[in-house]
């Protein structure tokens, strides 16, 4: 068989099963589950253990461990009283470089790290100590970027698959993660351990039911909901299943085996294996968008970058059906063109303030990545909407002075109407367009204002 993921594993990263299994019956069961999974892994004679650890956060893109023999004595910064973990691992440095190259080809910011003393995270250390105690199989570890969301994480997973193919490596892909991640916020006796809440318990069971049925992609599709329900928001979203599903091929055709499940200091810990199988439950339709190349923010180092247009020369296309697409306008967030010409009229799709160069929002977004409300400048957003509108109208051969009718959507009428109206007046007072202004609950991106326009088409 050519290179690729031959098996997937989900394992917990907290140190208790490694360091204190004898103190709690559940921790011991998880340790034994690790040992059983190890047998399953070794039986398929993989070339590589590819680990994505949620306990290795990165900020500058994605980091990939490339020290061939990292050696240290690790102590967990929280559960330090459980003891020290001396380790010496065997890493596949060549694969790490290949993974880094593959990630960059998909427009991710990635780098390898190979420094003596680099702090390998507790989750990776626990997984390698319990799954690969004799270093029988070389490993690779990739970080979990704290800002990355679904698109970036899916692309990171696909890059791992690219590297496996390119290097002809038969790999076991391992996601180090808890299910529910709510820890007790006080110290407890080992005998008192339990899943933090009944709700967490129920969701964990549901996730394990899916995984037991081999429905990996379904869990990946549900990741946002799972995060909302049972995850403390230490990071953006519940990412490991996006990565794992992307490495494994984004489907539900697996034989799933749930080795065991137990609480660790309140969080949900499970050891699960997924083996590709022709008799899986199959796929129907998935809601989340798929993505091949990462196209997110990457120009933040350039001062004033947000003032520029999209990189490369602007292009405009209008087909025989009058469908208009303009490269200098913000990319649509769904399956629709920027505008459509029908007879003498031009119908412009709802358009907001996003900067076409980098999708940033002039005046700031209305909420951050965690969903928390942000202060923003409605006047700056309104000006940006009108600039984008001019771009689309110009691309279609029309112009602002030919606008006939405007529908305006504001997410906060009380706060924003006055500022919006002032900027609108600066540009439209002599146009004579009819206008309707509506308050709505939200817009698809974190913007406060959007225009829907009908204009007279150009000649």
């Amino acid at each position: 068989m050519s290179g690729g993921a031959i098996k997937g594993l989900i394992v917990p990263g907290l140190p208790h099963p490694l360091l204190a299994a004898d103190k709690n019956e559940g921790w011991m069961r998880i340790r034994k589950a690790f040992e059983a999974a190890r047998e399953e892994v070794l039986a398929c004679k993989p070339d590589l253990l590819m680990i994505y650890s949620t306990m290795w956060p990165s900020v500058i893109g994605h980091q990939i461990q490339a020290d061939p023999e990292p050696e240290w004595t690790h102590v967990d910064e929280l559960f330090h009283e459980l003891g020290s973990i001396p380790y010496k691992f065997r890493m596949d440095a060549e694969f790490a470089e290949a993974y880094c190259v593959a990630a960059r080809k998909r427009s991710l910011h990635a780098r390898t790290v190979a420094y003596h003393g680099f702090p390998i995270d507790t989750g990776s250390v626990v997984a390698l100590k319990l799954l690969n105690p004799d270093n029988a199989v070389p490993a690779c570890i990739v970080s979990s970027n704290i800002y990355s969301d679904r698109a970036e994480t899916v692309v990171l997973g696909k890059a791992a698959a690219d590297a496996m193919r390119q290097q002809n490596k038969r790999a076991v892909a391992i996601a180090v993660t808890s299910l529910s991640n709510r820890l007790f916020t006080d110290f407890i006796e080992p005998s008192e351990d339990r899943i933090h809440s009944l709700k967490d318990e129920e969701w964990n069971r549901k996730v394990l039911e899916f995984l037991g049925d081999g429905r990996l992609e379904d869990v990946a599709q549900l990741s946002r909901e799972i995060h909302k329900q049972i995850r403390v928001k230490k990071v953006v979203n519940f990412k490991p299943f996006w990565w794992l599903a992307a490495v494994m091929g984004q489907h539900n055709d697996y034989q799933g085996k749930v080795y065991d499940y137990a609480p660790i200091h309140g969080a949900g810990a499970a050891v699960v294996s997924l083996t590709p199988s022709a008799s899986g439950v199959g796929d129907k339709e998935f809601d989340e968008e798929d993505v091949e190349i990462y196209g997110g923010e990457r120009s933040v180092l350039e001062q004033g970058a947000s003032q520029g247009a999209a990189s490369g020369p602007a292009t405009v296309s209008m087909d025989s059906a009058g469908v208009v697409r303009a490269s200098a306008a913000p990319k649509p967030v769904g399956a629709y063109p920027h505008a459509r010409k029908v007879g003498d009229l031009l119908f412009v799709s709802g358009i907001g303030p996003r900067n076409p160069a980098d999708d940033s929002i002039p005046g700031g977004p209305v909420r951050n990545g965690d969903g928390a409300a942000q202060d923003y400048d409605i006047e700056a957003q309104t000006r940006a909407v009108i600039d984008n509108l001019k771009t689309v109208l110009g691309a279609a051969g029309s112009s602002l002075d030919r606008v006939l009718d405007v529908t305006v959507f504001l997410i906060d009428m009380d706060r924003d109407f006055h500022g919006f109206n002032r900027v609108y007046g600066e540009h439209f007072k002599d146009v004579g367009a009819t206008r309707t202004t509506l308050a709505i609950r939200a817009l698809p991106t974190p913007i406060a204002v959007e225009f829907k326009v009908i204009a007279a088409a150009g000649d």
Binding site: W56, I60, E81, H116, T185, L301, E302
Partner: protein
């Protein structure tokens, strides 16, 4: 019972590893050409002011020792090891050798515990000291000739509101002050945090290339200036009252509780803080600021 210990000064002492990197100390493996001078010179001026003062211990609260269960305290008398920054390993691989004032650490631990906070002493000698503690202490006292007390940042903010976490940090500050007074120590407090903290997700090819260094966005700058203005005009109670909003609006690293802890320990100084300097590091806002209790009387 009081033994006349005191807080000699409180310093807002940001810890991005770039500062230690650009200083080129012998302990750090990577070497820099230059970089972030406004902040490094700010530290230098601050050190000059400290030369006129005697102190026995540095007490630092670091956001990069993150504990989800309460605040932990280094409880081993001596640490010697290598610290590699997990985010910027290209900049910070620092060979540290430090002494810990375990007696004072235990005293603060006990006071905090008695006040109802969750606390734990860290007794594992293999433990690696976090880079936030190291950078703040190094930039304040590069001689490393004074013992430290290092306190972890309780990250239960993931579980509780910002307001609850701020209250806990204030209580920890009060416990710190009481313990210092009882100990007879002359202590220098270090709040090891940046102000606004949204940072770039890539770095220039030459990390110290200052043509790329600027604040992440104008809103962060406005917030930083608002907070600094409160510091320089002695309105620290107002600053702490604003802290939850500041944290939300600027992704501030003050969510670690370190600045709030220090203000709580110092009883909300109503005299001007000395603004030694402000600068950005990979998009984050950082200030070196000193509060000197003797100025309360002047």
């Amino acid at each position: 019972m009081s033994k006349d210990g005191s807080i000699v000064a409180g310093i807002l002492a940001p810890h991005p590893p770039h500062l230690a990197y650009a200083e080129n100390p012998p302990q750090n493996e990577p070497k820099a050409e230059c970089g972030w001078e406004t902040l490094r010179w700010a530290y230098e001026r601050m050190r000059g002011d400290l030369e006129q003062r005697d102190f026995d211990v540095l007490v630092v609260l670091s956001p990069h020792w993150q504990t989800y269960i309460g605040n932990h305290f280094l409880g081993v008398p001596h640490f010697k090891s290598l610290s590699v920054d997990p985010v910027f390993p290209n900049l910070f691989r620092f060979h540290y050798d430090m002494k810990v004032d375990v007696e004072l650490a235990e005293a603060i631990h006990d006071e905090a515990k008695a006040a109802g906070l969750i606390t734990r002493m860290m007794r594992n000698p293999d433990f690696r000291v976090d880079y936030g503690t190291i950078v703040s202490c190094h930039m304040t006292r590069p001689e490393w000739d004074i013992p430290i007390v290092s306190i972890s940042s309780c990250r239960s903010r993931s579980y509780y509101s910002v307001e609850v976490m701020q209250e806990q940090a204030l209580e920890l500050g009060r416990a710190t002050r009481v313990a210092i007074e009882k100990s007879g120590r002359r202590a220098l407090l270090l709040a090891s945090n940046s102000l606004s903290h949204r940072h770039f997700t890539e770095e220039p090819e030459v990390p110290e290339d200052m043509t790329h260094e600027h604040i992440y966005h104008h809103g962060q700058y406005l917030w930083d200036m608002r907070m600094i203005d409160l510091m320089r005009t002695g309105r620290t109670q107002e600053m702490i009252d604003l802290m939850p909003e500041f944290i939300e609006q600027s992704s501030s690293e003050a969510d670690s509780g370190s600045l709030t802890w220090m203000m709580g320990a110092m009883g909300f100084p109503a005299y001007p803080g000395e603004i030694y300097g402000y600068g950005t590091i990979i998009g984050t806002g950082n200030a070196v600021v000193g509060w000197y209790p003797e100025r309360a009387a002047s």
